[in-house]
């Protein structure tokens, strides 16, 4: 019994950091409507800076001063980020905000390795809290008790801040209607900046307070951000009390899950999240958001099928690509196959994101499931390659059917967070379930059969499948189903009023996208001859997002161009520099701020500019709709 009580306390202590970070995320979201993906990075920075400062300052006072000072330093970094970057994108579609802050996360990952090195750092124990209290033969670290006491105190302080100060009133007002607050003469810029600073301070404090408990390392950011997303989805984005309750809930589930069901502890949290989402889609303490901002809106450029000339050009492009084996060596062919595979992957995400308006931050899950599907079929069932290629993607399809069902209940940032959490869960299962997936060692020895084994034949297979997949998706885009999907993206109200069941349409689109991603993953497994949990990972999901973004979110063919350019660029980059994440993150931020239409989008704009301009009578219209 005592053991369980101690476990309960351990859970509560873990909840402290989670609560600090999640409440910071919630406060920032409440006012600025930005889901700050970089929040995990600020948490990690807080831990690193606190490590350095507490090593530098001696004594008990030095330690605590170091913790607070570290949080303040990171908050100042946050202010700079807000002023330089976020102020430029407050009015951008939310996908762009998520991506820009993710770009920051990538940059920070490389920066901390540059500054602090790649090794785990063990921080000082907290002075005054080094011992443990004995409780019926069980030891409870006093530092845990300190953390347990801390989070209600922080909750209370935040409550006082928001209820009892003028600044808090302004923040609450801005949370409800920021335009109104601006109209009342409040300097919105500084309100946003100060809110961001507070949120970042809380995240950094959460990180700094972890150093006596946990080693500091450069993967902390993604680990915490996924947990935090789960917390805010359960608790309700924008609610501080929700963040508190959900942080405790998730931490306790983790603490007891490991005891009771060690193998499926992660799934337990997922199950709870799924139940909450079904019962209360906006979280335990959340409120339904006003109609999500319309994601399209950079251009009003109706899509049209290819003209016969363009179709001819596409065939010509394919023909040229098919001739690569005549000139290229084995390396070129392998790279070519990889690019073809990523064209399929990016096109599948584009279908979900551009056509359906559902920006998935965990699309790699279905890519990876397709790859594991192949591995299971080929290694365990010993089926021939062609059968595997046909059946393997079904695992991606199945995953998409299950997760997609929950994900399409939500939209906008909630959708993004949920898909990310799902992908992370799949990744963890692949990573932990060593008996089946081989864990970190992956599954090796998946080689194509003789007919596809040569680099040239595999290359032809890849571009053939890629051409088929892209063509099929394109046909779907212009089919009645594709229009219905776009209708749900453009106006939920109108599509419901003309008999469209939006959730079913979106779910179907999710399954289609997941299956096509599964096809890409299946080919990828054969290309590499192995499957690792990496092919389910966040970085792969984000690669796909960047490909679509680079090509142009609002175009039909952007994904193809984006995938080719991005993949070539990144392969070249990895060969040139060790700091590929820093450069990649910088590129993402740059695209979002300076280049939001992408390559194809810019090309289309240029072409339209040469045409005589049509009169544009009602520019106000979209704003009227937005006010709805």
């Amino acid at each position: 019994m005592a053991f369980y009580f101690v476990q309960f306390l351990t859970g509560l202590a873990s909840a402290a950091s989670l609560f600090l970070v999640a409440s910071g995320l919630s406060i920032i979201f409440g006012v600025t409507r930005i889901v700050n993906f970089a929040h995990g990075a600020f948490y990690m920075l807080g831990a690193y800076v606190a490590f350095t400062l507490t090593e530098r300052f001696s004594g008990a006072l030095g330690f605590w001063a170091g913790i607070v000072l570290a949080s303040l330093v990171v908050a100042v970094v946050g202010v700079l980020v807000e002023m330089v970057l976020l102020r430029r994108i407050y009015h951008a579609p939310e996908l762009f905000q998520l991506l820009a802050t993710f770009g920051l996360t990538l940059m920070v990952q490389d920066l901390v390795v540059m500054i602090w090195g790649p090794n785990d750092l063990l921080g000082r124990r907290a002075p005054g809290f080094k011992g443990a209290v004995e409780f019926f033969g069980q030891n409870i670290p006093t530092y845990d008790l300190f953390l347990i006491a801390l989070s209600p105190i922080v909750l209370g302080l935040l409550w006082l801040l928001f209820q009892r100060t003028r600044w808090g009133v302004l923040v609450r007002a801005a949370t409800q209607d920021r335009d109104m607050v601006a109209a009342l003469g409040v300097n919105q810029k500084w309100l946003f900046t100060s809110v961001f600073a507070l949120g970042v301070f809380l995240a950094a404090l959460g990180g700094a307070l972890q150093i006596p408990r946990d080693a500091v390392h450069h993967a902390l950011d993604l680990r915490i951000i996924v947990d935090v997303f789960v917390v805010v989805v359960i608790g309700g984005l924008g609610s501080i009390i929700g963040a508190f309750v959900a942080a405790v809930l998730v931490s306790e589930l983790n603490a007891f899950g490991i005891l009771i069901f060690p193998k499926i502890s992660i799934i337990l949290v997922f199950l709870v999240m799924a139940v909450v989402l079904i019962v209360r889609p906006w979280g335990l303490f959340g409120k339904q958001e006003a109609a999500a901002r319309r994601t399209p809106g950079l251009t009003v450029n109706p899509w049209r099928p290819l003209t016969s000339g363009e179709r001819l050009a596409a065939w010509a492009g394919l023909a040229v690509a098919a001739m690569l084996p005549l000139v290229g060596g084995n390396y070129a062919l392998t790279v070519g196959s990889e690019i073809a595979i990523f064209v399929i992957f990016a096109a599948s995400l584009h279908f979900l994101m551009s056509v359906g308006g559902l920006a998935s931050f965990g699309h790699a899950a279905y890519f990876g499931l397709g790859a594991y599907g192949i591995a299971f079929l080929a290694k365990m069932a010993g089926l021939p390659m062609i059968v595997c290629l046909l059946l393997g993607p079904l695992l991606g399809c199945l995953g998409a059917a299950i997760f997609g069902f929950f994900a399409v209940q939500l939209s906008g940032v909630y959708f993004a967070m949920l898909t990310l959490a799902f992908a992370q869960i799949v990744w963890s299962v692949a990573f932990q379930w060593v008996a089946v997936t081989g864990g970190d060692n992956g599954i090796l020895g998946l080689w194509p059969e003789k007919w596809a084994a040569g680099p040239a034949s595999f290359y032809w297979l890849s571009i053939g499948v890629a051409a088929l997949a892209v063509a099929a998706l394109r046909i779907i885009v212009f089919s009645p189903f594709g229009y219905a999907l776009r209708a749900t993206r453009d106006s939920l109200l109108r599509s419901e009023a003309i008999g469209i069941d939006a959730k079913r349409i979106q779910w179907t689109a999710f399954v289609i996208a997941g299956s096509v991603a599964g096809i890409a993953g299946a080919l990828f497994a054969y290309l590499k001859g192995s499957v690792f949990p990496d092919s389910l990972g966040i970085s792969l999901s984000v690669d796909a997002l960047v490909m679509v973004l680079l090509g142009g979110v609002e175009t039909v063919s952007g994904a193809v161009i984006g995938a080719i350019v991005y993949k070539m660029l990144s392969i070249w980059l990895v060969s040139q520099t060790d700091l590929s994440k820093l450069v990649l993150g910088g590129v993402i931020v740059l695209i979002v701020v300076a280049f939001p239409k992408g390559i194809v989008g810019m090309f289309e704009t240029l072409r339209n500019r040469r045409r005589p301009e049509l009169p544009k009578p009602a520019l106000l219209k979209s704003r009227i709709e937005g006010a709805e």
Partner: protein, 263 residues
């Protein structure tokens, strides 16, 4: 009028939000081909009433019978399938599609082709979409991006979309809100013409009394959630309670009449 079949009958419809009774025990009926106006000052419960008829809001109490089916608490898309067209106070269209495509999507849905992944939508029911656009006077704009339309044209487009399922009943929430005076008259004249020709019942809410008294066959007056008067424009106009509550601001209306506006 009394021989025409009843399209819509509402009995004891109520809805409260917290302690506020937005709609209280409202009952009325609407016949095929009839144009019925629902008026009342701001906050009278018109929009709540509308949203319940359409399925946007679940009624707190009462029954809605539409074309012989009990549609109480049915979803908007199920109500639509029964043959109800809807336009919104603030237009809801698909801004990234062309005007014609906006109508085509509605036709796709009406033809139950939503899950067809093979056909080419730009070719789907092209002529039919063209006919609907012609009906509302939008033929010239068919290939324009919908996002570029002026507000009045968007209202017409919404009407074309609402007619795509060959509705027996049109629900129009403030069809002329936000339009210039001349456009208002024109749009309602167009709607009334189509409704009479196809014998479609129309229920609309409206703030512009000129529009209401010119086109409505019958008028329902809501105040604070309750129905306080019902009858022909003439009866409603003479009703002292209505004058007191609603047409207190009616000087504008009287003045217009002296100038010889049609009644």
């Amino acid at each position: 009028m009394s021989t025409a079949p009843t399209l819509l009958s509402v009995e004891g419809l109520s809805k409260s939000y917290g302690g506020v009774h937005a709609v209280r025990n409202v009952s009325f009926a609407l016949q095929a081909g009839e144009i019925l106006a629902l008026i009342g000052p701001n906050g009278a419960g018109k929009s709540t009433c509308f949203d319940m008829l359409n399925g946007q809001t679940t009624p707190g109490a009462g029954r809605i019978n539409l074309l012989g089916f009990d549609t109480t608490g049915k979803k908007p898309r199920e109500v639509w399938r029964l043959g109800v067209g809807r336009t919104f106070q603030i237009t809801a269209t698909f801004p990234t599609m062309t005007v014609r495509e906006n109508v085509q999507v509605a036709l796709v849905s009406y033809g139950r082709q939503l899950f067809n992944v093979w056909a080419s939508t730009p070719q789907f029911a092209r002529d039919e979409a063209g006919r609907l656009l012609e009906l509302v006077g939008m033929s010239g704009y068919a290939e324009r991006p919908c996002g570029e339309l002026a507000y009045g044209d968007l209202k017409r487009l919404e009407l074309a979309i609402a007619l795509a399922n060959q509705p027996k009943l049109l629900l129009m929430d403030e069809p002329t809100a936000g339009m210039a005076p001349r456009e208002r008259i024109e749009l309602m004249r167009l709607t009334a013409g189509i409704a009479r020709e196809k014998s479609i019942g129309v229920l609309f809410t409206e703030h512009d009394m000129d529009v209401v008294f010119e086109h409505a066959d019958r008028i329902l007056v809501l105040n604070r959630g309750s129905l306080i008067a019902e009858g022909s424009p003439e009866e409603v106009r003479r009703n002292p309670q209505v004058r007191a509550i609603y047409l207190g601001e009616g000087l504008v209306y009287d003045a217009r009449h002296r100038e010889g506006a049609p009644s």
